[in-house]
Symmetry: D2
Subunit: 141 residues, 4 copies
């Protein structure tokens, strides 16, 4: 989050549920990708490029890399904030995430995900962001 | 399980994982449908009508009804057996399930699921089992 | 929903995510219990008997029965409303649910769940609702 | 997998299910941690330090770091092999993973997870592996 310059940044609130938590009473580490998804979806909708727009545009954006650093557990009942920053967009999309306790603002988790464009007709991976996404991002650059 | 005559019956073993369990240390009730799926998949493959064969046949079989009676919790570390019985097939598919402790054979859960055929071209629900399934079931009737 | 008299009733909105959906492009039937949980949690918090209050009260309320009727699929991108009704409370808790399309109000799913009180010290199931829950419900009866 | 010397290495087979897959017909990227868990559990049981033994030993081993590189999608119906290698153990546990197609042996995913010991009485993180784990690993060093 520190080293990458963010082009866009936004926060969404979430509330981990009972079913997200494991026998230790904390969110199971493998359930965090669902929280990242909430942040990413909010970001993509902000630039008017949510799943429906993506699909219409003829590109899919599969994840090729995801990483998470779990500094503090998320306990059952704790409300969280997921800050999402778009930090790369020219050749691929890279999002950085910070999950924080909603009340104390203490940082609990840092994470990132990297996505590449795939042309849905040819099933070929693109090495450059397609024009449609550049256009969507223009107002924010 | 008692009132319905089973056309076919089989058991699969499963082992609930840490991520299946909730802060009470037992499998979260909403994760049981994954166990039923394991039993149903085994049954459909036994009659050579697994997902790939279904898809080729031009029909999907969405669940229209599912019910579960949780008599005993499934604790983390407990190994289980899922017995699946096919009890209806002429107009729809109905499966009955019993989940038992693998060692003691004590019954933990009873469940059922009901599925109807949908013609994937017309997206119409069928009120009778299509010939392809009758043919698959013939050796077992 | 029709036959049971509701003591309490409320609606929450939800938005199924990409990860809730299966290769048919609809919410996988086994993911619906998560939606029911959202409605139930909202209801229990309304009567000031959420998970924290439950735990303090010394009782757990495991699910003993759950049933779902899937009338229409929930498609990816569809926003939904989960109406929860408390229809029994004297000996056990019974909730009825209706999931509807948020825009059209068309009913998609009907469901119910039944819960019994377990004394967390003795691990005994109770055949009558403990006084604490009666007290919480009093303002609504 | 290449740079770290593995102390222990083993493979487990798995079969992604319908409910693991998303509307693109591939395993949703956020469901992979469940596969890593299968490999890790097998490894820890091999050294007789599964969840029950951990719990008895008085330590928990939360994940502090997890990373995944998705080279190829895992398609519905594809059977996979999860190779798990224990590559660090002196101060923390580090596992490397490779997910491969079971038939072709083509590598689909590389991943890692890092775990630290937490003393369950004091809730303090340990900077060195506790003696119990050293003893469990001794036969393999």
């Amino acid at each position: 989050m520190r080293t990458d310059r963010a082009i866009l940044r936004l926060s969404v609130e979430a509330r981990p549920q009972f079913y997200d938590c494991d026998p230790m009473g904390v969110v199971w580490h493998g359930n965090y990708p669902r929280f990242l998804e909430l942040g990413r979806v909010a970001m993509l909708e902000k630039i008017d490029y949510g799943y429906a727009a993506m699909s219409e545009s003829g590109y899919a954006w599969p994840v090729v890399d995801m990483g998470l650093k779990y500094a503090q557990p998320i306990r059952f009942g704790q409300k969280i904030e997921i800050e999402t920053a778009l930090v790369e967009w020219e050749n691929r999309l890279k999002f950085n995430f910070e999950i924080r306790d909603l009340e104390t603002r203490r940082r609990l988790t840092r994470a990132h995900s990297v996505h590449v464009a795939v042309d849905m007709k040819t099933e070929q991976m693109l090495w450059e962001t397609p024009p449609i996404l550049r256009k969507k991002l223009e107002p924010f650059l």
